[in-house]
């Protein structure tokens, strides 16, 4: 049965479990994310954030349950082209092709749309360079077109990755610890950049970050995950310190663990 509400949500998670053999990595009853929301995922390392984000972005499929991306189950979204129009990923490790220069890395966002011949020619003589220039302007890296990616700093590489995302132009941005390897100032800049992009182009943003401060400042909804289960899913102003303590606190659990 298709509800009216379906069309208001870009993502709907229904009774999803991800298991590896006997181990249940993630279990989520329900999450509904509306278009244009900015959601921060908080949780300590190993809590299941990456697994959850990979399922939301249709990189992996849930073992049980279903995830609807714009009304379509993620299991049916096999085609690289359609999926790349829907979801774009930002990772902690930038994931640029180190030996390619910046303009080719940025234009790689178009690989889902260009045919093979155009893609190859672009390696030698970049096609549609204006798109790359505009994207690089947006991320404040205007004069780096011909520089090899490996020569850039961490913050610059992350911004090139975001420029590539802009060229790809997906409706949903999923960022998996995008700023964990950056210093606080650059981390703040990157988060602000992602949020600006989300606001300007009405893209939905889901990001897992470690900084509670950044989450509170830039995101309107915060989800806490611990040992694969959702601890809380609240609007930012409803987040309490007690919730955070419970989320990150391991010592009480260690005491309570059966020996």
């Amino acid at each position: 049965m298709i509800h009216q509400n379906l069309l208001n949500y870009i993502l709907q998670v229904k009774c999803v479990t991800k298991s590896y053999g006997d181990l249940t990595a993630v279990h989520v009853d329900s999450i509904d994310i509306a278009y244009g929301e900015k959601v921060a995922i908080l949780g300590s390392s190993g809590s299941g954030k990456t697994t959850l984000l990979n399922m939301l972005g249709a990189v992996t499929e849930p073992s049980e349950g279903s995830i609807l991306l714009k009304g379509t189950p993620t299991s049916e979204l096999r085609s690289g082209r359609t999926l790349s129009q829907l979801v774009g990923f930002i990772h902690q490790r930038f994931d640029l092709v180190q030996n390619l220069n910046v303009v080719n890395n940025v234009l790689a966002g178009k690989l889902g749309q260009w045919n093979f011949l155009k893609s190859i020619i672009s390696l030698v003589s970049p096609r549609e360079v204006e798109i790359a220039i505009r994207a690089l302007d947006k991320v404040a890296l205007p004069n780096k077109l011909r520089i090899r990616a490996s020569k850039l700093s961490g913050g610059e590489q992350q911004r090139v990755a975001i420029a590539r995302l802009l060229v790809q132009d997906p409706e949903l941005i999923i960022a998996d610890e995008p700023v964990s390897s950056l210093d606080p100032t650059r981390a703040r800049n990157i988060v602000r950049l992602l949020v600006d992009i989300s606001n300007e182009s009405s893209k939905t943003l889901i990001a897992s970050i470690h900084s509670v401060e950044l989450a509170r400042e830039y995101f309107n909804r915060i989800i806490g995950i611990k040992k694969g289960e959702i601890q809380f899913d609240v609007l930012t102003h409803s987040l309490t310190d007690a919730m955070l303590d419970d989320l990150y606190n391991l010592s009480t659990d260690l005491l309570n663990e059966p020996s």
Binding site: G80, D95, V97, F116, S119
Partner: protein, 265 residues
């Protein structure tokens, strides 16, 4: 209880002992002749060394040595070029990266590797004899004789390098909507090209040496001249030709270093 654990040495120690043992046994299995020098041997060695001191550097001979080097170089370049042309696509196919399923990938890798091993285990001299018999004493015979084993050597290494690219950048490209062919060109080849180039240069040097030896079968080149001079026991000429060979390989080595340096910038 394992006896070697009782002795106090671990698995690695046991492996070392086994390898030493094999080495020692193989030494004793060889038939060592106590008289390895035949009676005229010492004189021959002295003659050879004498040839080094009295190099033949007459202009006519030097001119011929230069020309022979040029011929050998031509053969090497033609053969390696053909080997790259064949080996590159073979390497891509043999790496299995373009196959869709795990099953077909295993099958592809296994069968391609088998074919490559067979081609590779036949030495270029044997290929040369085969081609000379089949199509006569022509340059094509020599080029094919070198190109076939070398293309399978290159293909094998290319396959390894191409499949050994870190996955996170490739995943990123796939997430941008790239097909595996586009991932090959945008993600794998940029990472693999420096190593592939370096190894190809190394094989080019080997190719020069092989081309020199191949000229023993009658096509002109350094090896052919070395054989003529050896038959007449003109060691001074042999040394001249050998020095030309060494110079040739050294020049190629320097060229390859400068190309790799400029790539890395």
């Amino acid at each position: 209880m394992n006896p070697h654990k009782l002795l106090g040495i671990g698995n690695r120690g046991l492996l070392t002992l086994i390898l030493l043992g094999i080495f020692t046994v193989s030494l004793f299995s060889l038939k060592w002749e106590l008289n390895i020098f035949h009676s005229g041997g010492t004189k021959s060695i002295l003659d050879m060394l004498h040839g080094l001191i009295t190099l033949d550097i007459s202009p006519s001979f030097l001119g011929m040595a230069l020309q022979s080097s040029w011929i050998t170089l031509n053969y090497a370049v033609a053969s390696i070029s053909l080997a790259i042309l064949i080996g590159f696509p073979l390497g891509i196919i043999g790496s299995g990266i373009l196959t869709p399923s795990r099953y077909s990938r295993m099958w592809t890798i296994y069968s391609v590797r088998c074919i490559l091993s067979i081609l590779r285990s036949i030495h270029e001299l044997v290929w040369a004899w085969f081609f000379v018999v089949a199509i006569g004493l022509t340059p094509i015979a020599a080029i094919l004789a070198l190109a076939i084993p070398y293309s399978s050597i290159l293909a094998r290494i290319y396959a390894d390098i191409i499949s050994d690219v870190p996955n996170n950048a490739l995943q990123s490209l796939r997430a941008s909507g790239a097909s595996e062919m586009k991932v090959l060109f945008y993600g794998r080849l940029p990472h693999a090209l420096p190593d592939m180039l370096s190894y190809t240069f190394y094989r080019f040097e080997c190719g020069i040496r092989s081309a020199a030896i191949l000229s023993f079968i009658g096509i002109r080149g350094l090896g052919y001249q070395i054989q003529i001079s050896l038959d007449e026991l003109l060691y001074n000429q042999v040394w001249t030709l050998l020095i030309f060979l060494i110079l040739l390989i050294t020049i190629v080595d320097m060229w390859s270093s400068s190309v790799r340096k400029s790539l890395a910038k």
